[in-house]
């Protein structure tokens, strides 16, 4: 069985985390009455980001962890994930301000908010994994 580098595993981990975040994005976007502003764009970019993570993992394996192409793919994935996070925060900030003040009994709103937070958390974990991978030199596991 082929051994993958730590770098591959870290980036692949980022991809999986981004994919989980993306699924949660679908969930929060699908909460009745709480579709995300620019939700379609975020869903598309989130999927591309997850795909880029996977591509980055294989690029790291093929070209090396510190190769410019690998680095570019990863930073693009990171940037796209941040765009998705930004879309989510921008949309849910208003919802959150209501839930924590005048709208605390909005159970559907809480579902939309908590799934959005979960999505953001997974996307952020993916970003952390990408950053960690950027510091790696590419040793085999």
């Amino acid at each position: 069985m082929k051994k993958f580098s730590f770098n591959f595993l870290t980036i692949a981990c980022a991809g999986v985390l981004a994919l989980v975040g993306w699924v949660l994005l679908l969930v929060t976007n699908g909460v009745a009455g709480f579709a995300v502003d620019n939700g379609g764009l975020a869903i598309g970019l989130g999927l591309v980001a997850a795909a880029l993570c996977c591509a980055g993992a294989f690029a790291a394996e093929k070209f090396g962890a510190q190769n410019v192409i690998t680095a570019a793919v990863k930073v693009c994935a990171l940037a796209l994930i941040m765009v998705v996070i930004g879309v989510l925060i921008a949309d849910r900030a208003n919802l959150a301000s209501g839930l924590f003040t005048w709208d605390s009994h909005n159970s559907v709103g809480w579902t939309a908010f908590s799934t959005a937070v979960a999505s953001i958390v997974f996307f952020l974990l993916a970003v952390v994994a990408l950053i960690v991978s950027a510091f790696q030199t590419g040793k085999k596991a």
């Binding site: 208003n94 950053i131 950027a134």
Partner: protein, 1082 residues
Amino acid sequence: MSRKSALWQGLTNIFVFLLALSIIASTVLEANRSAVDNFFGVVSEVMVSEEGETYSAYKPDAQFLNADGTGNSTALIKAAIDLGRRQEAEGAVLLKNDGALPLASGSKVTLLGARSHRTIINSAMGQKSQGNYITLEQALSATKTDFANTKLDKKEAVADYSFADLKYGGDGVGAGAGFVLNPTTIAAYEAVAGDMALQPKATSGGRGEPHKTTIGEPALADLTAAESGFVSSFAQYNDAAIVVVGRGAGESNDYWKGTLDEAEKAEGITEPLQLTPNEREIINLACQNFSKVIVLLNNNSAIEIGDLKNNPKISAIMWIGHPGNYGLLGVADLLCGKVSPSGGLYDVYATSNLSAPAMMNMGDYTFANADEITRKNRSTKYVMEDESIYVGYRYYETRYYDSVLGQGNAKSAAGVMNSKGGTWNYADEMAYSFGYGLSYTNFEFELSNPAIEQSAHAIFGTFTVKVTNKGTVAGKVPVQIYAQTPYTEYDKQHKVEKSAIQLIAFDKTDILEPGKSQTLTIRADFQNLASYDETFQNADGSKGTYILDNGAYYFAVGNGAHDALNNVLALQGKTTADGMDYNGTAALAKQWNYTFAGNGTVDGTTFGISKNNVQVHNQIQYINWNNFSGEKITHLSRSDWNGTYPVEHTSMTAPADMIPLLNGKIVASADGKEFYTIHTNDDVSGITWGSTKTSYKFYEMVKADWDDYRWNDLLDQIALDEATVFASNSGPNFVIPLTGVGFVAFQRGTDNAGNGIVFDLNNSADKNAPWTIPETDPNAAWNGQVFGCAPIVASTFNQEIMFEIGNFVGNEALFVGLPIVWGPGLNTHRHAYNGRSGEYYSEDPVLSGACALEFAVAAGRKGLVASPKHFVFNDQETNRNGVAPFMTEQRAREIELRAYQIAMEGVKYEDTNEAMFGLMTSFSKCGPVEVTNSWGMMTGILQNEWGFHGYAVTDIGDDKDLYTGMVFAGCTGYDMRGGYPTSLEDFAQKIGKQAAVDGIELSTDMFAKDATMQGIIRTSLKRSLWAFAHSNLMNRYSASTHVESVMTPWRVGYTAAIAVTAVLALASAVMFILSSRKKEDA
């Protein structure tokens, strides 16, 4: 080299991450810049004019300005303290007094109860009180305060204030009460103060947590543990004990039935508005140790005090409400006798709140078939308001009257909570009725027959009341005029309900010295005693209108509703032998016989035409559950109290013909059977947009009348796409400019208020105003949200105080540059458990409507557009986001709507044409239809019947999925805090993402071929501009007015973060690439 490139790549990623975060932060901050500005106390956009503003449209009162026209913050704050103190002194209600009050100056007094040390001072009228306040301890024992230890937050305010500054009249009259307080009890409460929230919540709940009531009263054991000499200290301070008990109020929560702690329930206490074991323990302790026990009630939702009333060891009871930052000075003035009490109760205080028929249905109710409703987030909850018009005293007093007359099964067991023997008995069920209040002196009233003025569509009665002070101290007294209308066979047949007594007008005397008299002339609009008959056949073929029955009408004065009713009963020949609790005074009641001169058994003509000359007819029949198919319910009727007493409806099934309405279809008929869809092929050639034939500018329309000829031309100049988006957006930020008329986009056009403007004094959006308070001013951080709760205003029964509050808030608005205020709260109190009782005035619509009218007119004269809220039926906070309340249209019109009608029609100010320029709608529905989408409410009644022209905003983002319906119904836009469209292009994205009803895709040209909607949009636009034209915004407008961005500290912060992280990301990336190349070269 690999490690170096790894380092640079890692750093690149980190800085890209931080850069992205900075950009996200900038986006979110800018999108919510109004809230961010408020948080930081800055303004990020200002309106400026090249030639300078004139500031001639509206100015603060001269007393708040220095000789050079600059603002005098000290004068403003001292006036606020003065007004807050007088408001409380006139609004607090003395309910019981065996002679213990007033206490002499120098009395040695022991304060007991958590709320004596942590008095609940705020009323959360949209916003909570802020800034420094005066405690009860200070007010009772000190003569001045430096506010050093009484800060609700970290803000600074006036450095020093002498209590003697008050302008009651007479040197030194405003000094403190001069009591000597027991320091041991104060120390004990301070020791346990951590458990006593200063602003306790009415209930918790939400997020799946159970509802729970926080009272915060410590056990005696905790107090004695904190101070071992707690009880023994009483001996040295035993002239009197003042025990303060309280209940909080606030947004988003209600009191709930049976929600006390388990331990408290174990003591036999079940309801949150009953006195808890700890409260009873401390009251009993006071009764055991003091000959004078005075209980102060620090609440808005009625605490159950029936046993205190009947306890001979309780010397006095006084309701003080939530008195605001300075109101406790007024309480001190009352306790020491500097001022004689003159307030009357804003609500009934029943022995048990659960005895109100409305309490049968309050709380969380979900349609049994909620899964059939597609609009699940907003449309699956309901509440049945089966009590009909019998809200508050209308229930207790009418049932009492029928008991005395032996009619309608009034003495049956239905609704009995405290009556002995299983039959309903008023004296057992009621502690203190509406309007009741005592004084330190006695007044004698003389009531003359009313002088009646009748015209084709109006009747007014003018009552002359001579009031004489027969006591030994000076005092004021409210003069309350009540009416009884005949309850006839016609009414029974047509299901028209009648209250046996109702307030129709009121006024208050000046301070009368002993032996002095004053004659008041009080004009009552008989519209307020007309009954709404949903079955009446109008001449024009429509159905339903206001009627007057033929028969005997009775008018009476009295100390509250019950006293007035007893006076009516006395005139009708009834005595205690007939079952009255005491004999009334027949001379204080008058009879007026009315016979309709026209055709028909009742008069449906006089008030069938509104003051706006429109035929009144049914507009909201969908508010009545029985007008749909399926299961029928019974509304309470005095024809049979026993057979119609409400039952709880826990699981109603929404009928099939109600589902489309719950799902948000645009209702276009009063019965909810017809729907509106966007027209796609209208001839719109008669409607002009974007005209260049004229060149009127908005700034020229300052204070322009609604009928001013220039409006039409000005509206012609506006583009349809701008108008369409403008109709979505009603503040706080107005981000869509109207380029054709020079209306610029600007920030902070609106905010919440009622008991003061929420902004710090120097946080002005109008920095160029001559009176703007600079940051260097020692009072710069004083926050204007300082006055007492709305029920205190109501309980003053003093329209001058009501007017003064509006005037002062209008002045505050000028200092902070706020043109529109979302307030005051104008819903009626349906029952005591509404957590928002502190924000709304009263259970009585006449009293509430008068309060709001005075506030609005006074504020309007200062250029502050008042927008009373929440129009309408926000009868409970539970499920307020879309709850569907069902009731009869008669109930809707005579209780909730009548308060708004009085404020909107502004009869008192008809000569000056002043009334309301604004309104905020409710989150709740009107039956199954959102109020925001109810054409009957927003246009049929509000605009057509009442003649309201102004700005009408939804509550926060309410019904953003129903834009077309919202506009069609007659709202002028959404309250868009945080989520407003920032451009025309942003409109569909921000508003239209869920607007799938009828398949309508939102766009700026969606009404391009719909003449009806274009007409409505045009009117909507005019209404908003007309309101602004009568606001202090006009101070800032001139021919060259434009908006400039301000580089606020938070903007500096995110800009710097973006710049730094971008540079570092770029540098790291370059270093990474270089290091990678070196590695490859190597």
